[in-house]
């Protein structure tokens, strides 16, 4: 299965939910925010949200800013 994560093509061996993807791709999953195909997915819904072939997932977090 091919999906885009933060604008980069990624291959997943099996269907996964957002919770699984965040755990495997984010080294520090606390305070990660996700957007699937332009819709914000709150952390409570990650486990129930399956990612499908061709989906675009955004993983963002807080950084320093002025």
């Amino acid at each position: 299965m091919n999906i885009m994560i933060n604008g980069k093509a990624q291959q997943l061996s099996a269907a996964q939910n957002i919770s699984e993807i965040v755990s495997s791709f984010c080294k520090n999953p606390k305070h990660v925010i996700t957007e699937l195909n332009g819709t914000i997915i709150p952390a409570q819904a990650w486990a129930d949200t399956k990612v499908n072939d061709g989906d675009a997932l955004e993983l963002v977090s807080f950084v320093g800013g002025g």
Binding site: H31, V60, F62, G65
Partner: protein
């Protein structure tokens, strides 16, 4: 004379110094600077996670009692600013947002018109909105109507350390707008922050100067002292400048009776 607390959207702040968290060499400098600044409101930004390397979570270095203000930096129009604000809210880390919309890469000046649009949308959604603008009376009035919680005019170009190049225009906002005026951007030294507070600004936001100082925590403390001094000077009813000399000591009644000064 006792001061009143700074109140923004019903929340009281003892400190009138807001600190930005960008450009610090390391997170320890950041943590020590926040502590030394006494700041109770700090700005953060949102970015895509770099999947290739481990990034420290900045929130772990910000004391829990400090209000987080998410900057929409990176937004080029109102729509993108709204998207960033909603993402920040989804993190559960608050609904305070600094609207920063920039689509000019040379001067990095904020787009006032897009900022008004974003403020209208986000204030209606219940965000506490602190818009960052080029100081302009009509923009500020539109922002009041749009539901802004403060107005944050720039002192000079972002990161330039040039101080209050827009002083007269900020004074207009202080005089005419019934919201806290927070001077943001270009404040490069404590003396400049004190000058803004003497004019009647409600608070000052600084980042680059502190983050890039050799000793950031020491400069953060100096800023806090200057902001406090400037605030006290403002409350004192600072006398106006005079164009001619006016002696501080009596000039008659000693040595030269009835004589003018020599």
């Amino acid at each position: 004379m006792s001061d009143t607390l700074l109140v923004i959207a019903g929340k009281s702040f003892n400190s009138r110094f807001f600190l930005g968290t960008g450009k610090f060499k390391n997170k320890i400098d950041l943590k020590e600077s926040i502590e030394a600044s006494g700041s109770e409101l700090v700005t953060v930004a949102l970015r895509r996670i770099d999947l290739e390397r481990h990034e420290e979570n900045i929130l772990e270095y910000i004391p829990k009692n400090v209000t987080l203000l998410t900057n929409t930096s990176g937004a080029r129009n109102a729509e993108e600013a709204v998207r960033i604000a909603r993402l920040a809210k989804a993190s559960g880390c608050g609904h305070w947002v600094k609207i920063e919309v920039i689509n000019d890469n040379k001067y990095l000046l904020p787009d006032n018109a897009e900022t008004i649009k974003a403020t209208e949308i986000l204030a209606a959604e219940g965000f506490v909105v602190l818009p960052y603008i080029s100081p302009d009376l009509y923009t500020a009035r539109a922002l009041v109507k749009a539901g802004a919680a403060t107005i944050m005019p720039l002192g000079s170009f972002i990161g330039s350390n040039q101080g209050l190049k827009t002083k007269e225009f900020i004074q207009v906002l202080i005089n005419e707008i019934d919201l806290p005026i927070v001077v943001d951007a270009g404040i490069g030294a404590p003396s400049q922050a004190a000058e803004a507070m003497e004019m009647g600004a409600a608070a000052v936001l600084a980042n680059t100067a502190v983050a890039t100082a050799q000793n950031p925590a020491l400069l953060a403390q100096a800023f806090a002292m200057a902001i406090d001094a400037g605030r006290k000077a403002y409350l004192s009813g600072l006398p106006q400048r005079q164009s001619l000399a006016n002696a501080s000591s009596p000039l008659t009644g000693f040595l030269y009776d009835n004589a003018a000064a020599h």
